[in-house]
């Protein structure tokens, strides 16, 4: 069972995603901000991170850089309400992005693809 860490400062999003992804058979843990996110990842060892881009105190794209620098191959899916973030080239360090919606079909598809991805690991 894959473990997913949801990082989002909106409680209803964390609740919705948690419920739906748990129903899909994933183990879900959540964080309500980017505070000590790398430490949280080290402790939880998730197989995938769903990361909100715009949180009150944190920029998800900066957090993405931190994650990618420390965890080269940890899948990260960016979540956002707007697609203007794509103008920032930092966003290409994400595996996928999804626009926030109450229909989680796309998010579930991207999670499946990200977890299926098979690339030999770095030396």
């Amino acid at each position: 069972m894959a473990k997913i860490l949801i990082v989002d400062d909106e409680e209803h999003i964390r609740f919705l995603y948690s419920e739906e992804l748990t129903d899909e058979g994933y183990e879900v843990v959540t964080a309500d901000s980017g505070f000590q996110l790398l430490e949280r990842i080290a402790a939880e060892k998730p197989d995938l991170v769903i990361l909100d881009i715009k949180m009150v105190d944190y920029n998800g794209l900066d957090l993405l850089q931190d994650i990618r620098n420390k965890y080269y191959d940890l899948p990260v899916i960016l979540c956002t309400a707007y697609d203007t973030f794509k103008e920032d080239m930092k966003s290409i360090a994400a595996d996928f992005y999804v626009i926030k919606s109450f229909d989680l079909t796309e998010l579930k598809n991207k999670i499946k693809m990200a977890l299926e991805t098979s690339v030999p690991q770095k030396a």
Binding site: Q65, E87, K90, A93, D95, T117, P120, K122
Partner: protein, 407 residues
């Protein structure tokens, strides 16, 4: 190791930690600027390390060497290497460079093009620093005009990404960083072909880095790549055959690796925080030339295509060839399958390999024409998203390649 280069080393440099290399052929008018910028980068960001600038040249007769030595490098020493008279090829310049890097014992090597007009000292920092921080290979990441780098956009990037599973946006960008250890790997590789000794060298290095599971990052350069532009409908020459031939050769040599790859992963990005993104200057494309080249090729190569492509694909190519000019469209999935089929035919040598590569060029022109039309009203960023979607089609179509390859 056999030394097959001519050398001028006026400062008698015999060791260096960091090398910045500038490969060239007849770049006397332009090489001075990147040489000076590279020297500034070394002085500013690597002052505590022993550094050297190397011009790896093809024995240019236009004064390239003199221009290199005349440039102001603020005391950074220089070495000039050249292939013997009559020996050309960018890859041959790199071969000489790899020898020299090992001889000098360098830990990090940055390579920049000799015709760069937009290079800043920070490019040296961004391509070089990751090599002192666990990365073995650094590819450039810059904003390019949507019509600049069309071989990259329609072949090198989507194919490399789908095959090897690493998203390196500029696999043949021309500006790279690699470790001294990678120079040893490159030099020891048994896969040096004539194409690799020419313009195939860039995609060859990137692919070898991927296949060796070397940690790769992309360095954000801040400024767009501005160099001598090429109209994709006009200037192509042997570069196309050398780049695509190298991709197909490597597919044959690395089958066991890429068959295990499913979907793709991003890489680390290095070097943000450079302020506002500068947009690249426009690149003119002649749609008429692209259309004419496609039509001519359609007449010339239909017979060969019928030997390379299965009947259904060949029929679809025939259908797009018959479309009225204003309705011309080359669907991405058809393009992906076409490239996969050409790769299979290249491996199986069902037709002459050189003819196969040459016959692919008009199809590439057709695909480029289709891309130009679809992205005509798009911003650079929207065109980037369009290319990303095309890459997904290549990845989704990969099972077709596995089946056709004989998995």
């Amino acid at each position: 190791m056999v030394q097959d280069y001519l050398e001028e080393n006026p400062s008698n440099i015999n060791e260096a930690e960091m090398v910045v290399a500038i490969p060239s052929y007849r770049e006397a008018k332009l090489i001075g600027y990147p040489t000076t910028q590279a020297a500034l980068g070394l002085k500013r960001y690597f002052a505590e390390r022993k550094c050297v600038l190397i011009n790896c040249d093809n024995n240019s007769d236009d004064g390239t060497k003199e221009a290199f030595f005349a440039a102001d490098t603020e005391g950074v020493p220089r070495i000039y290497l050249s292939t013997p008279a009559g020996i050309r090829g960018k890859g041959n310049n790199f071969h000489n460079l790899f020898h020299k890097v090992l001889e000098l014992g360098a830990k990090a090597v940055v390579v920049v093009d000799a015709d760069l007009k937009s290079i800043t000292p920070q490019w040296i920092k961004h391509l070089g620093e990751p090599l002192f921080n666990e990365f073995g290979y650094v590819a450039p990441l810059y904003v390019r005009h949507k019509y600049d780098g069309t071989i990259t956009n329609s072949i090198a990037y989507p194919l490399t990404r789908a095959l090897y599973g690493r998203r390196v946006r500029q696999p043949i960008g021309g500006d790279f960083g690699f470790s001294g250890e990678m120079a040893r790997v490159f030099l020891a590789s048994p896969t040096w072909t004539e194409a690799v000794r020419n313009f195939g060298i860039d995609i060859w290095m990137t692919t070898i880095a991927m296949n060796n599971n070397v940690p790769i990052c992309q360095a954000y350069m801040g400024r767009p790549k501005i160099h001598k532009p090429k109209d994709p409908g006009a200037d192509l020459g042997p570069m196309f055959s050398q780049v695509v031939g190298t991709i197909f050769d490597l597919m044959t040599q690395t089958t066991g690796y890429w068959m295990r790859v499913k979907w793709s992963r991003p890489t680390s990005i290095y070097g943000f925080g450079l302020g506002e993104v500068e947009m690249p200057p426009p690149v003119k494309v002649s749609e008429d030339k692209l259309a004419a080249n496609f039509r001519e090729g359609f007449q010339q190569w239909q017979g060969l295509w019928a030997q390379i492509l299965p009947e259904d694909l060949n029929k679809k190519i025939g259908e797009i060839g018959g479309l009225p000019p204003d309705q011309f469209d080359f669907p991405t999935q058809l393009w992906a399958k076409t490239l996969y089929e050409f790769a299979v035919a290249y491996k199986e040598q069902t037709v002459d390999r050189q003819q196969l590569l040459v016959s692919l060029i008009p199809l590439y022109f057709g695909k480029t024409l289709s891309y130009v039309r679809k992205t005509a009203r798009m911003s650079v960023q929207q065109a980037e998203e369009f290319i990303e979607n095309e890459c997904m089609v290549f990845e989704e179509t990969k099972p077709y390649l596995l089946e056709r390859w004989g998995a």
